[in-house]
Structures are given as C-alpha cells and as structure tokens.
C-alpha cells in the first residue's frame, strides 16, 4: 500500500476510536452537569447526581440483585463450560462437531429469539419469571464462551502433563483437579470476569425472564422510557469504570502464558 492509503487507514482507525469514545465520554460528562437537563450547554459541574445515586436504596438493591445473578450464573457457566471444554478437547468420539455446534449454539442465536425461547421454556418447566429463570438464562448464554476459552487453553496444555499425573497414580478426577484445573485457572478467571460483565450488562434475557425485580439494565431501560436523567448518567458512568477495570484485568489473565 502507498503512504497515502496508509495515512487514510490510520485516520479511519482514529475516527473509529472517536466514534466509540465520544458518546461514552459525553455520557460521563453529563453525569457531572449541574442541571436536570441532559444536553448542551454545560454551565457548571457537580457531584450531586453521584450522591443521589449512592443514597438511592432502591438502586442499591438493584445493583445487589444484578450482582447476585452475575455471580451465580458465572459459577454455573464455568462448571458446565469447563466440563464441555474437557470433553471437546480431550476425548475422541464420533459426532464431536455436532456436540461442539450444539454447545456453542446460544452464541449465534439472535438475542430476542434466545430470550423468547427461554421465556417459553421456563414457563413450561414451571419456573416463574424471576431470579432463577434469569440465572439459568444467563448461564445458557455464557456456557459457549467459557467452553471456547477453556478449549483454547487446554489445547496449549502438553498431553504429557496429564499422562505424567496418571502415571504417578492419579485417576482422571484427581489429575483434573491437581494438574489440569490449575493450568486452566487463569483462563477461567478471565472468562469468569467476562461472563459476569455479560450477565451484568444483559438486557434482553433479563427483561423477558425477570419478574418484578429488575436487573440494572432493565432498571435503566424503564427509567429511560420516562425520559433521560443525570442520575442514569451517574450510574452508567460507575458501571463503565467498573467494567473497564474488570475487563482489562480479565484480558490480562486470559492472554497470560
């Protein structure tokens, strides 16, 4: 490529970065604005909306509810996803491709369809909309991701490590817990953080599977329908910061050798 096209591409990249960051930066900025009205001009800045958010007990309970769901669904997804990764990367059997496709199926389902199908399914199973249904919904959505991350990590584990453990007297269960699991741990912690973020941020499943108690995105959505407010900016900014920090930590863990 010529210098010219290279320069253009570089500009496209930075324009893309701006496209990604400007809306979020504006959102954060508006959270500090000393007025109930979202928009320009900004006259002065304040921390008032953050105080309002912290003192809002309802919001705090929504936060806690979302967090409980995120933790529970992540733990379940890690157990099932790791199990699936072990099956797909360590065992040899016919129809592996089909099992892989079935396990990772939720990753390619359009969100609304996944949510509706789970809503109907939980109803037929007698699970009323509420925490259990949301946790299961998020687990279904997160298992493929854990499986893929787990498989990638397992593929880099030398076969001889497991063989050596078995040679020294470990059965498959002991060799999994003492050798393979420690090897997988950094990747699983990283995947777990992303699962928590996904669950915490998920709207469509939480909305259709949830009962009267909203998760945070559902709460923000219902607030938005009545109009914008600087409080939403403040909450969103807090979530943004937490997300970025956790995401960076997870990224580090998953890429570590």
């Amino acid at each position: 490529m010529t210098r010219h096209t290279r320069l253009i591409m570089q500009m496209v990249y930075w324009a893309f970065v701006l496209y990604l960051f400007i809306p979020l930066s504006l959102m954060v900025l508006m959270g500090f604005k000393d007025s109930k009205f979202i928009g320009f001009p900004i006259k002065s800045l304040t921390l008032h909306w953050y105080k309002v958010v912290i003192q809002d007990l309802e919001l705090m309970s929504v936060f806690a509810y979302s967090f409980t769901i995120a933790i529970s669904s992540t733990v379940l997804a890690i157990i099932i996803g790791t199990w699936a990764a072990m099956l797909l990367s360590q065992a040899k059997f016919k129809g592996k491709i089909i099992v892989f496709a079935l396990i990772t199926l939720p990753a390619v389902l359009p969100g609304i369809i996944s949510a509706i199908a789970l809503r109907i399914y939980s109803q037929t199973l007698g699970i009323e909309p509420g925490m259990t249904a949301v946790i299961l919904g998020h687990t279904v959505h997160n298992v493929p991701f854990v499986t893929l991350v787990g498989m990638a990590r397992l593929n880099s584990q030398p076969m001889s490590h497991v063989e050596a453990a078995q040679d020294l007297g470990a059965d498959n269960v002991i060799s999994f817990f003492r050798i393979t699991l420690p090897y997988l741990t950094p990747a699983l912690v990283g995947a777990g953080i992303f699962c928590m973020l996904t669950s915490f941020d998920d709207f469509v499943r939480s909305f259709f599977l949830g009962g009267y108690e909203p998760t945070l995105p559902v709460y923000i959505f219902s607030q938005l329908r009545t109009g914008m407010s600087p409080e939403i900016n403040a909450i969103s900014s807090v979530v943004l910061v937490i997300t970025a920090v956790m995401g960076l930590a997870a990224e580090r863990l998953m890429r570590r050798k």
Binding site: R6, W83, L224
Partner: protein, 318 residues
C-alpha cells in the same frame, strides 16, 4: 493389580487421604474403570446440558407455535393449529417489520464491514506487533459496556440538544436542530456502534494471518497496490469477512431494546413485534413463538447460504 498395601498411620495430605480411602477407590474404579465409562462421565453433563438447555427451548418454542393458546388455563388442553403461522403471512403489520429487519440488518452489516475493514487492516498490517494489543484494547474497552448504556450514550450524542446538533449550530451550518433521534438513522448509528466489534475481531484475526511476504511477492511481480488488495488481501481475508458478517447480521436482527429506544414508528423492528405478543396479558404466546421460529429459521438459513456462497464449509461458525 497393586497388592493391598497396609497404609501406615500418621497425618496425610488431603489427596493422599482421598486416593487411599476405600470408598473413593471403589467409586473411582466403578466410574472411571474403563475407557467407555470415562467417556460417558465426561460427556454426560455437557451433552445433557446442550440438549436440555440449548435445544430444548428452541424445540419447545416450535411446539408452542402450533398451539391454539398458551399459557393454558387450568384443565384446558391445547389443540394443534397453524393459525399462529398463518397470522404472520396475512398481516402486513407483522411481515413488514420482518422484512424491514432483514433488509436493515443486511445494510448495516455491509456498512459495518466497510467501516471496520480499514480499521482491522490498519491494526493487523500497519501497527507493529508489539503495540497491536494496545491499539486493539483501545477499541475493545467500549464494547465491554452493556447494550443499554451504550444505546443511552448514542441518545445523548444524537439528541436535539446533543453534541452533534450543538456542534452544527455552533458552526453555523444549521439554525434549528436536526431531528436525528427516533429514525432509521439513529437506529443505524446505534446498532453499528453495538456490533462493530463482532466484525472487527474476525477480520483482524484473518488479516493478521496473511504473511507479509505474500504482498511483497505480488509487488515484486509488478502488481499495483489496488490490484494487490483485490487479488490477494481481500480473497485471503474472506473467512474473516464471512464470520464477521454472519455474526453481525445475527446479532443485529436480535436487538430489542435498542430499536425501542432509538427507533421510531417508521423503523419498528420485528423483535418489537415478537415482544408485543408477550407484553399483553392475552394468550398470544403461540403467535410470538411462531414469529420467533420464522425469524430463527430465516436468519440461520440466510447465514448458512451466505457462508456457502463465501466458500466456507459448515464446520463451526466462527
């Protein structure tokens, strides 16, 4: 095989205790004794999960779509009917949003490809290897934030008193705000904002794999920059394009909250039509189930056809 040893007394580590406990040994021998049993133990949970949790909901949805009513009142049996499916094909209020969703998502997919391709190319081919991760992370971070928050951020950007209108007014280009919001435009901007990562990553990994010497060899043979791009880079990144487009298309068709927040009456998406059958307390679930089934079958078929055209075999989706 090993002779029954007498274990000496004394404190043992947990694993030592476990491995020599009679109960564990017999459980281990019966569960892990043969290759077949080990495979069954390893396969049981994931396969049952895949069937019960991944396939189950889809089949149940298909099943309910043929009911005459659901949820059923006590003591009432459902009868099978194709009424819910018929409803779709005869009601313009339903099939228009459906086709709008497909076309709109298709256009957005193409727009995302055109926008993101240079970004991915720049990242993979022009940023030094040691700094690629940093440049990639910079664009990754915004995508970790959830759908609702990012949609809200777009609202702030495009509102009548949003940054763009204020900027345009300040520059004297306009005197009164342009109503970006609640149109296909705002929805398009929002969806591209939400999905571009799913285009970027497959493209980046495909472009990164192309050896640099390939281009040098072509240059050596006298191919100009554009010719090199059309004849070498583009074909070699075909797999990335295929995966990226399929992912973006499937995700774009599935948004519910974003169209509700950013879209307007003229840009109602099919997801809203589906959701409306659940919002009201009426027994319209079979209709919603039928709509979802129609959408699932159509999107997956389109994706499969697209992958076939792009010359990818059906192994895996990513």
């Amino acid at each position: 095989m090993p002779p029954q040893e007498e274990y000496s007394t004394g404190s043992r580590s947990f694993w030592s205790w476990l491995a020599t406990s009679k109960v564990y040994q017999s459980v281990s021998a019966s569960l892990l004794g043969t290759k077949k049993r080990r495979l069954v133990l390893l396969a049981a949970v994931p396969i049952i999960w895949a069937i019960v949790a991944n396939l189950g909901p889809l089949f149940k949805m298909l099943d309910i779509s043929f009911y005459d009513a659901y949820p059923l009142s006590k003591g009432r049996e459902a009868t099978y009917t194709i009424a819910a499916w018929r409803e779709f094909f005869v009601t313009p209020v339903y099939y228009i949003p459906f086709f709008r969703t497909l076309i709109f998502s298709g256009i957005l997919t193409f727009a995302t490809l055109v926008l993101v391709y240079p970004v991915a190319y720049f990242l993979a081919r022009h940023v030094p290897k040691s700094r690629q991760m940093l440049f990639l992370l910079l664009v990754l971070i915004p995508f970790w934030v959830g759908e609702i928050i990012r949609t809200y951020a777009i609202m702030i950007l495009l509102g009548n008193n949003g940054a763009i209108n204020i900027a345009l007014k300040f520059l004297g280009i306009i005197d009164r705000p342009i109503p970006f919001m609640y149109t296909s435009f705002s929805l398009g901007i929002g969806i591209v904002y939400l999905v571009s990562l799913y285009m970027l990553l497959p493209l980046y990994s495909a472009l990164e794999k192309i050896p640099t010497n390939m281009n040098e060899a072509a240059a050596d043979l006298g191919a100009g920059p554009w010719r090199r791009f059309w004849r070498i880079t583009l074909p070699l990144s075909k797999d990335g394009i295929a995966s990226g487009c399929v992912l973006v298309f499937l995700i774009a068709t599935g948004f519910y909250a974003t169209p509700v927040i950013l879209g307007g009456p003229s840009s109602t998406m099919f997801a809203e039509s589906i959701a409306n059958t659940f919002n009201v307390a009426a027994d319209r679930w079979p209709t919603g189930a039928a709509f979802s089934s129609i959408m699932l079958i159509t999107t997956l078929t389109l994706a499969a056809v697209f992958l076939k055209i792009m010359g990818r075999r059906g192994k895996g989706y990513l």
